[in-house]
C-alpha cells in the first residue's frame, strides 16, 4: 500500500502549509489595511 500513499502524505502536508500561509496572508492583509485606516484617521484628526 506504500507506493500511492506518499501522495496522500504530501497532500496532507501541502494542505496544512497552504492553509497556514493563507491564514498568514489574510492576517497580514488585514493588518495592512488597518494600519492604513489608522493613519488616515489620524491625518483626518489633525487637519480640522
Amino acid at each position: 500500500m506504500d507506493g500511492n500513499n506518499i501522495g496522500y502524505l504530501f497532500a496532507a502536508f501541502g494542505i496544512i502549509w497552504l492553509m497556514v500561509f493563507i491564514y498568514v496572508f489574510i492576517l497580514l492583509r488585514r493588518e495592512k489595511s488597518l494600519r492604513r485606516e489608522i493613519a488616515a484617521l489620524k491625518e483626518g484628526m489633525k487637519k480640522p
Partner: protein, 220 residues
C-alpha cells in the same frame, strides 16, 4: 520585538520538525509512509485544543476584569483554534482515505472534532449577531466557557459510541524513541507557530479597537 523572536523560533522549530518528519524518523512498519501524517495531525490537534483552552481562560478573565484586551485574546485564540480544527478535519480525512478507504467516516475523534468545529463556529456566529461591543464580549466569553467545558463530554459520549481511530499509542509507551522525539519537536514547532499567530492576531484586534475609538473621537 517579541513577534520577531517568535518568528525566528518557530521558523527554526518548523525546519527541525520537517527534517525529522521526512528524513530522520523511520517509516512505520504497519501503516507505512502515511503514518507520517501523524506528526502533523497530532500537533495540529494539540494547538486547536490549546487555543480553545486559552479562549476559555481569557473568557473567565474578561468576565472578572472587564478589560477589553481579554476579549481580544479570547476571540484571537478562538479564530486560530477554528483554523486548526479545520486542519484536523482535513488531515484526518486525508488519513482516512488510504487507511480506511473513505474520505469521511463517523469515527469518534473525527466526529468529536466536527462537533468542536461547530461549537466554535457558533462562537463566531454569536459574535457576528451582537453589535454592542461590551455585550458581545460577555456573550462570547460565556459561549467560550460553556463550549470548552462541553468538549470532554462530547468526546466521551462519541468515543463510547464508536471508534476506529488508531488508539493513542503515545500514551501507552508504544512509540519508539525517535518517533516520540519527532512528535515532540513537531508539537513544539506548532505551539511556537500558534503563539506567533496569537501575538499577530491580538495586535490586529488592538488596531481594530484603536480605529473604533479614533472614529468615536472624530464624531465628538
Amino acid at each position: 520585538m517579541r513577534p520577531r523572536i517568535l518568528l525566528g523560533l518557530s521558523t527554526l522549530l518548523i525546519l527541525a520538525a520537517l527534517f525529522m518528519v521526512f528524513i530522520y524518523v523511520p517509516t512505520d512498519k504497519d501503516t507505512g509512509i502515511i503514518q507520517r501524517i501523524f506528526y502533523f495531525h497530532v500537533p495540529v490537534a494539540w494547538v486547536a485544543f490549546l487555543a480553545f483552552f486559552v479562549t476559555f481562560v481569557a473568557g473567565i478573565v474578561y468576565l472578572v476584569k472587564r478589560n477589553p484586551f481579554w476579549d481580544i485574546v479570547a476571540s484571537a485564540s478562538a479564530e486560530i483554534g477554528l483554523v486548526f480544527t479545520t486542519l484536523i478535519l482535513i488531515t484526518g480525512s486525508i488519513w482516512a482515505r488510504p487507511v480506511w478507504g473513505v474520505w469521511w467516516t463517523w469515527d469518534a475523534r473525527l466526529t468529536s472534532s466536527l462537533v468542536l468545529w461547530l461549537i466554535y463556529l457558533s462562537y463566531f456566529i454569536v459574535r457576528a449577531y451582537v453589535s454592542e461591543e461590551e455585550r458581545r464580549a460577555r456573550f462570547a466569553a460565556v459561549v467560550g466557557i460553556i463550549g470548552f467545558v462541553d468538549v470532554p463530554i462530547v468526546a466521551l459520549a462519541i468515543t463510547l459510541t464508536r471508534t476506529q481511530h488508531p488508539s493513542a499509542i503515545i500514551f501507552e509507551g508504544g512509540l519508539a524513541g525517535s518517533m516520540l522525539a519527532t512528535l515532540l519537536v513537531s508539537i513544539a514547532a506548532f505551539t511556537a507557530l500558534y503563539l506567533l499567530f496569537l501575538a499577530v492576531r491580538i495586535h490586529l484586534g488592538e488596531d481594530e479597537r484603536e480605529i473604533k475609538s479614533l472614529k468615536e473621537a472624530m464624531r465628538e
